[in-house]
C-alpha cells in the first residue's frame, strides 16, 4: 500500500479500501522504523498528521473529497509551517517556529493533504548532496553509503523509501531534479513564477521555485494542480489562470519534436549514461516522437554565472539572520558587532558562509561590473539559446546528472567538484524554464534520471511526455530494498 502513487491511493481511499487515518499510521510506523537510518525527516508530526487524517476522513465521508484529501505528504524544511519547526537545514533556525504557513503548505492543507513532517535538506538549500545539513546527511535508500542528492535530498529519499506518498521540494539550480535522479523518482521544477514563493525561505530569489517530488509524472501533475497559481503575496508569481495539469496527460506523442543538446551528449557524459538515454529516446521514438540535435552553445557558462548570481542574492537574503529577532543568537554578546559576528559565525555552516562571502565579493564596489553584471549578460545568452532551440523542437532531452548517486564524503572536500554536479540543470533555472527529471534506467543497482526541459509554461507537455514514457516503462515503479 505504501508504495502506491497518489493517484492509486486516492482511488483506494475513495473505494474505502483504507482510511486516511490507517494510511497515515502506516506511514508513521514506517518512518519510525526506517528514518533513524535514512535521516530523511528532521521533524515528524504524528499527532498533527493523525488529526489531519481524521479530518480528511470526515471530509470524505461528507462527500467533499479532492484528489489530495487524506494523502500523506512531506514538506521540505524550507517551507514555513505554523506551530512546527522550520529549520531550513541550519543551526541558525534550529529553534525557529514560523508564525505562518507557506503558500504551498497552505494550499496542500486546504486540499486535504496530511502533513507527516518536514524533510532534511542542505543548509538553506545550498548543496547537491544533502551533506551540508546541520542535522546530518541523508542516506540514499538505494545504497545507504551514498548521498540522495540535494538540496531536496530528504524529500527525495522519503518518496523513494515510501516514507510518504509525495513530497514538496525547491529547485534553485537542480535541487529537485538531481535528487529525483539519484533516488529513482520523478521531480518537476516548474516555470519561474508558477508557484508562489510566499513562505519559502529564500536562497536566490530570482531562481528559487517550488515543485513536487513524486512516484510518477501523473502524481506530479496532481500536486501542481494544487500548488500552482497566482498569489498576490508574491509579486513574481505569474498572474495567469489556474491550469489543469492532468488534462493533457493522455495525448499521443505523434509528431513530438525532441531536441538533444550536442553539449549534453559530449565529453563529460559516460558511455553507460549515454546508452541509457539512447534506450529512453528509442522508447519515445516508438511512441511517435522524432529527435534532432540542437545547440546550447553557452551552456558551459551556466555554472560560473550561477555561482555569481545565486550567492549574490543569497548574501542579501541571509542578512536577516542576525541574531536580533529570531533564530540563533550567540551567548553573552558584548556589543552589537559581537552579536552579529558570533551569531552568524556560529549559526551558519561552512558552505553557507562560503556563498555569503562569494556573493558579498561579487557585489562589492569595483567588482560588480566584472562579476554580477557579466553574469546577468550570460544569463540572457543562456535564455536566448533555449529560445532559439525551441523554434525547432518542442522539448529538450538530456541527462539530469552526469552519473548516479555518489558516496557520502566523496565530493565534499572540493566545492567546485560539487558545483559541477548541476551542470545540466542550472541553465534551466537561469532561463526560468520548467524541467522534469524522471527515472530512465539503472546503473550498477542505482537509478539514473533523464531530464526534459520545455519552453516557459509547458509543464503540461512535459508531464504528458513523462507520463507516456512511464506508461511504457517501469523504471519509475522500481523501489529500493530498505
Amino acid at each position: 500500500m505504501l508504495s502506491k502513487t497518489v493517484a492509486e491511493l486516492a482511488t483506494a481511499l475513495a473505494k474505502k479500501e483504507v482510511s486516511s487515518v490507517e494510511l497515515t499510521q502506516a506511514y508513521l510506523d514506517r518512518i519510525a522504523q526506517l528514518n533513524p537510518a535514512l535521516n530523511a525527516y528532521v521533524t515528524t508530526t504524528p499527532e498533527l498528521a493523525l488529526s489531519q487524517a481524521a479530518a480528511a476522513d470526515a471530509q470524505r465521508a461528507a462527500g467533499n473529497a479532492t484528489p489530495f484529501t487524506g494523502i500523506p505528504v512531506a514538506h521540505k524544511d524550507i517551507f514555513c509551517t505554523r506551530d512546527v519547526l522550520t529549520a531550513c537545514g541550519s543551526r541558525m533556525l534550529a529553534n525557529f517556529t514560523s508564525p505562518y504557513d507557506a503558500c504551498v503548505v497552505e494550499r496542500l492543507q486546504s486540499a486535504g493533504a496530511v502533513m507527516l513532517g518536514k524533510t532534511n535538506m542542505d543548509e538553506f538549500a545550498m548543496g547537491s548532496s544533502n551533506e551540508s545539513s546541520y542535522f546530518g546527511a541523508v542516506h540514499n535508500p538505494w545504497d545507504q553509503d551514498r548521498v540522495p542528492g540535494g538540496s531536496s535530498g530528504g524529500s527525495a529519499a522519503a518518496v523513494a523509501a515510501d516514507l510518504c506518498a509525495i513530497a514538496t521540494g525547491t529547485d534553485t539550480g537542480g535541487s529537485i531534479r538531481q535528487p529525483a535522479s539519484f533516488c529513482g523518482i520523478t521531480g518537476l521544477k516548474p516555470t519561474y513564477g508558477r508557484v508562489s514563493r510566499w513562505g519559502m525561505i529564500a536562497f536566490a530569489s530570482s531562481l528559487d521555485q517550488a515543485g513536487p517530488l513524486s512516484k510518477s509524472a501523473e502524481d506530479a501533475a496532481l500536486m501542481m494542480n494544487v500548488i500552482a497559481g497566482a498569489d498576490a503575496r508574491d509579486s513574481t508569481c505569474l498572474d495567469i489562470p489556474a491550469e489543469d495539469f492532468s488534462a493533457q496527460l493522455n495525448q499521443p506523442l505523434t509528431g513530438l519534436r525532441i531536441g538533444l543538446p550536442r553539449e549534453h551528449f559530449s565529453d563529460g557524459l559516460s558511455s553507460q549514461v549515454q546508452e541509457i538515454l539512447q534506450l529512453a529516446i528509442k522508447t519515445l521514438e516508438s511512441l511517435g516522437a522524432t529527435v534532432k540535435t540542437v545547440e546550447l552553445p553557452n551552456n558551459h557558462l551556466s555554472v560560473p554565472a550561477y555561482y555569481v548570481i545565486a550567492p549574490a542574492e543569497a548574501s542579501a537574503n541571509l542578512s536577516r539572520f542576525d541574531g536580533a529577532r529570531f533564530g540563533y543568537r550567540c551567548e553573552n554578546p558584548v556589543n552589537l558587532e559581537d552579536m552579529y559576528k558570533r551569531s552568524r559565525g556560529e549559526g551558519f555552516g561552512d558552505e553557507v558562509k562560503r556563498r555569503i562571502m562569494v556573493g558579498t565579493y561579487a557585489l562589492s564596489a569595483g567588482y560588480y561590473d566584472a562579476y554580477y553584471k557579466q553574469a546577468q549578460k550570460i544569463r540572457r545568452l543562456i535564455k536566448q539559446d533555449f529560445d532559439t532551440a525551441f523554434k525547432d523542437v518542442d522539448l529538450i532531452l538530456g541527462p539530469t546528472s552526469p552519473h548516479t548517486a555518489f558516496k557520502l564524503g566523496e565530493k565534499n572536500s572540493d566545492p567546485v567538484t560539487m558545483y559541477l554536479e548541476d551542470i545540466y540543470t542550472i541553465a534551466v533555472n537561469l532561463a526560468g524554464l520548467p524541467g522534469i527529471s524522471l527515472p530512465a534506467g539503472m546503473l550498477g543497482g542505482l537509478p539514473i534520471g533523464m531530464q526534459l526541459v520545455g519552453p516557459a509554461l509547458s509543464e503540461s507537455r512535459l508531464l504528458n511526455v513523462a507520463h507516456q514514457f512511464q506508461l511504457n516503462t517501469d523504471w519509475h515503479t522500481q523501489r529500493p530494498e530498505v
Binding site: 508564525p99 509579486s235 529577532r325 552579529y340
Partner: protein, 313 residues
Amino acid sequence: MTWETVIGLEVHVQLATQSKLFSGSSTRFGAAPNTQASLYDLAMPGTLPVMNEEVLRMAVSFGLAVDAEIGQRSVFDRKNYFYPDLPKGYQISQLDLPTVGRGTLKIQLEDGSEKIIAITRAHIEEDAGKSLHEDFQGMSGIDLNRAGTPLLEIVSDPDLRNAKEAVAYLKKLHSIILYLGISDGNMAQGSMRCDANVSIRKKGDTEFGTRTEIKNVNSFRFVEKAINYEVQRQIEILEDGGRIVQETRLYDSDKDETRSMRSKEVANDYRYFPEPDLLPLVIDDAFIEAVRATLPELPGARCQRFVSQYGLS
C-alpha cells in the same frame, strides 16, 4: 579671501499613505512599539514585498508638480547594510532608475528675484525602524513601527549658494508636498527630514570643494543655523591651511554646532543590486495622465493666478 558656499539638499519625505510601502501595516505615528509591524516588516523568513500603488501615485504627483521626467520603467534595488533597525539587512530603494527624474523648483530670493533649483531625482524607498536606547538597562530596544514606511527622497543639484536659499528651497518643497497632500511634512516628527551637503570654494573656482554631509536636521531654523555653522567651520579650517575631510556630521541644536559622526569609518559599500522580489514598475501615459488630472493648483500657479486675476502684487 571671498568664499562661495555650495549646498545640495537630500530631503526625505514620509509619504502619507494608510499602509506601508511593501506591507499592509498601518503607518500611523505614535502607536505602542512594534504594534504596527507585520511579518514582512519583521523580515520573517519567507516573506515578500508587495508594492503599495498609492506610493507610486504620490511619487508621480510630486514628479509632475516639479516638471520632472517620470521614469516609465523604474527599478527597485537592495541597499545592503547591517543595523538592528533594518530588519532585512537591506533597504529597498531605487538606484539607477528612480521613479522621478530631473525636475526644477523655482524659489524666491530675499531681494525678490527668482532662482531655479534643479532637482536631480526623487526615488522611493523604505524607512528604517527606530532604536530605543533608554529604559533597557544597557541593552537597546527596537521599534519597527516605522520600518517600511514609504519615503520619497528628493535630491537637489548643488545649486544652492547660502543657507537662506537652502531654507527657501525647503519651504517651497514643504508647501508643495502639503498642497499635494502626499505628506504631513511634520519636521519635528520626522515626516520631513533634511540632509545638507555643504562645501565651500574660492569665489570664481569651477571645481567643487570637499563636502561634508550634515544629517537629519529637523527644522527650517536649524537647517539655516547648521549650514551657517558648517560654512564658518570650513572657512576657518581652510584659512588656517587645513583641509576638509569628507564625512558625515551631526548638528547639535543645543550647542549650535556640527560634530563628526563617522570620521573613522571608511566609505560604506552598500552593494546595490536589483531587487529580485519585485518586478520593475512600468508606468504608462494613462497612469501619469490620471495622476495629473488629480493635481491641485500648486502654490506657484495659484500665486500667479491671483496676480493676474486680481491684480495683486
